[in-house]
Amino acid sequence: MSALLEVDDLRVEFDTYGGTVQAVRGVSFELDRGQTLAIVGESGCGKSVTVQSIMGLIPMPPGRITSGSARLDGKDVIDDKRIDGKDIRGRLVGMIFQDPMSSLNPTMTIGEQIAETLQVHRGYSHKRALARAIELIDMTRIPEAAKRARQYPFEFSGGMLQRSMIAMSLACEPSILIADEPTTALDVTIQAQILDLMRELQRDNGMAIILITHDLGVVARMADEVLVMYAGEVVERGSVDDVFYRSAHPYTLGLRAAMPSNRDDAAQELTPIDGSPPDLFAPPAGCGYFARCPHAMRACETEHPRAFELGEQHRARCWLHHEDCDVAADEVFRK
């Protein structure tokens, strides 16, 4: 059986006054039904642009998909470098965003905003859509759903709003839920509740989740598979265990070293990654991580690393895995 979503060599550019930004530079991945895929990486690495391209949400112009394909359920969603997203958005793929406070229309009731999706995609009558909206609100464990449906976003707390967003994105029972940093704007206890809710609904509905985050704790808790993105590319991908315990890219190691842990050695210092990401107006010819990599070699500056196969699902774009490399990859990664 083919994967639910297959993205192959996706490239996205944006024209700006300063030149053309190559925001996504050849991203490929697959997502299976019922699975959770986490995309991690620092700000500006192309996480959001990747998923928004698949949804047809990037403004074109200035955005441009220069190559690549995406197949959802075996059907091409990128046609002639344009996306006709109306069948995808809301119906096959639901999406929730970072800041629930500003992601809902302030002058429309929560119930109306949820019902709207059903009216458009399912052709429900206004009354029927509203009744279903109340059920959906109830499903996301918001008490007094009927009363809440008649309220406006300003009457909700941040956590409640994110629950409503989830209810809205799941209204048409999509096969994929894309969550773009869904818990970044929420406080920690609410974060946990939202993540638990997403997992519960996933178990009930069998939907796949694409979770964009830069919180590795969230990844460990939620994901089956992980994509690590850097400078518009996937530098490492694999199962959660592969990426966390058998990290195969120096950037992944850098991310892990910068993450606090709750092990006994509480005095452990966090090590930031020095430097800043490369300029995507003129991406480097070699490895994007070259300038910041403690293990950089001469080849890394000029030769673009290919993805080395390290396990069944595990891939990493790093020359250290080349058989002719003088440095034993094991010494770098098995510390």
Partner: protein
């Protein structure tokens, strides 16, 4: 809501009282005399006239008398026009000014919202650039210039048609009203267009528009149900002050188009120091504007659920 309305109306009454007081003392501080005539008047007659109109009393006493009359709804009689009560002047001529003003504000609001939305949709393309240029013209060119140009245009249209479609001046029929109200509303329309444009662009980039698109709504529905309504809110906010701008601008346009509105009496009264007419028109306009601003605020509470009228 009711408590809020009552509170705002009480505040409005205080505002109007303040306007009346400031105008009264300001007016009396101006040198000159409403009864001054071209011809020399014997001092005895002049003193009699002063006594007849109560102008011989000290100003604070005149103030108290005036306020008590005003509370009874009596604005007095004009000093310079034969046998006319200020109430009659207002009753007769305010209708005209109000009609002109309402037409102008409707024209300005609809035009502003329409052009503003259009420029935002065609951002940085030809229609946007042209309209934004016209908007700058509309804001910077004073209304008497537009009034004169409007008349010139009317003359040309009539000549081309061979009959009088729009009269150049005067008042009475719908044809009389169209051009002056457009001229009067033009500046405000330009201002509202600019406001609506920036509001639309701000909303277009907001997170909830992205959410609406991610739900797969058709572009027209996103525009109508999510963008437009939120973008109009700032426009509604400035409608109150805009009514003030249109009313004061009305004096000039009434003058150019020879419209028998209240504005003309207002200006004339100031020139002739016609105390009762100055007071009557100022207090009346003041009260009218205060009331309109309150009305706009109440309407705003109906449109934006976040606004609680308490």
């Amino acid at each position: 809501m009711v408590a809020y309305t009552v509170k705002r109306l009480l505040q409005g009454v205080i505002t109007v009282w303040f306007i009346a007081t400031a105008t009264f003392f300001g007016m009396h501080a101006v040198p000159g005399d409403p009864l001054a005539a071209d011809k020399e008047v014997p001092p005895e007659i002049w003193a009699n006239l002063q006594a007849r109109y109560g102008l011989d009393k000290p100003v604070p006493e005149q103030y108290v008398i005036y306020l008590s009359n005003m509370l009874k709804g009596d604005f007095g009689i004009s000093y310079t026009q034969q046998n006319r009560e200020v109430n009659d002047i207002i009753a007769e001529h305010f209708k005209v000014s109000a009609t002109l003003g309402i037409l102008a504000i409707v024209f300005a609001a609809f035009g502003g919202i329409l052009w503003g939305a259009l420029t935002a949709l065609y951002r940085n393309r030809a229609p946007d650039i042209v309209i934004v240029f016209l908007v700058i013209l509309g804001i910077s060119v004073p209304s008497f210039v537009f009034a004169a140009l409007g008349q010139l245009g009317v003359v040309n249209i009539n000549n081309a048609l061979g009959f009088t479609l729009f009269p150049v001046a005067g008042w009475g029929t719908v044809q009389h009203m169209i051009v002056p109200s457009m001229v009067l509303g033009l500046g405000t329309m330009a201002f509202l267009t600019r406001l609506m444009r920036s509001s639309m662009l701000e909303i277009a980039n907001s997170d909830f528009i992205r959410t609406a698109r991610s739900k797969g709504l058709p572009a027209t529905r996103v525009f109508r149900k999510h963008q437009l309504r939120n973008a109009i809110l700032p426009v509604v906010t400035v409608l109150g002050p805009s009514i003030a701008a249109i009313t004061t601008g009305g004096f000039v346009v009434e003058m150019v188009f020879a419209i028998p509105g209240l504005g003309r009496y207002f200006v004339q009264a100031v020139q002739q120091l016609d105390y009762t007419v100055i007071m009557g028109t100022t207090v009346f306009y003041g009260a009218f504007l205060v009331f309109m601003v309150i009305l706009v605020d109440l309407v705003y509470g109906l449109i934006d659920p976040r606004v609680r009228l308490e």
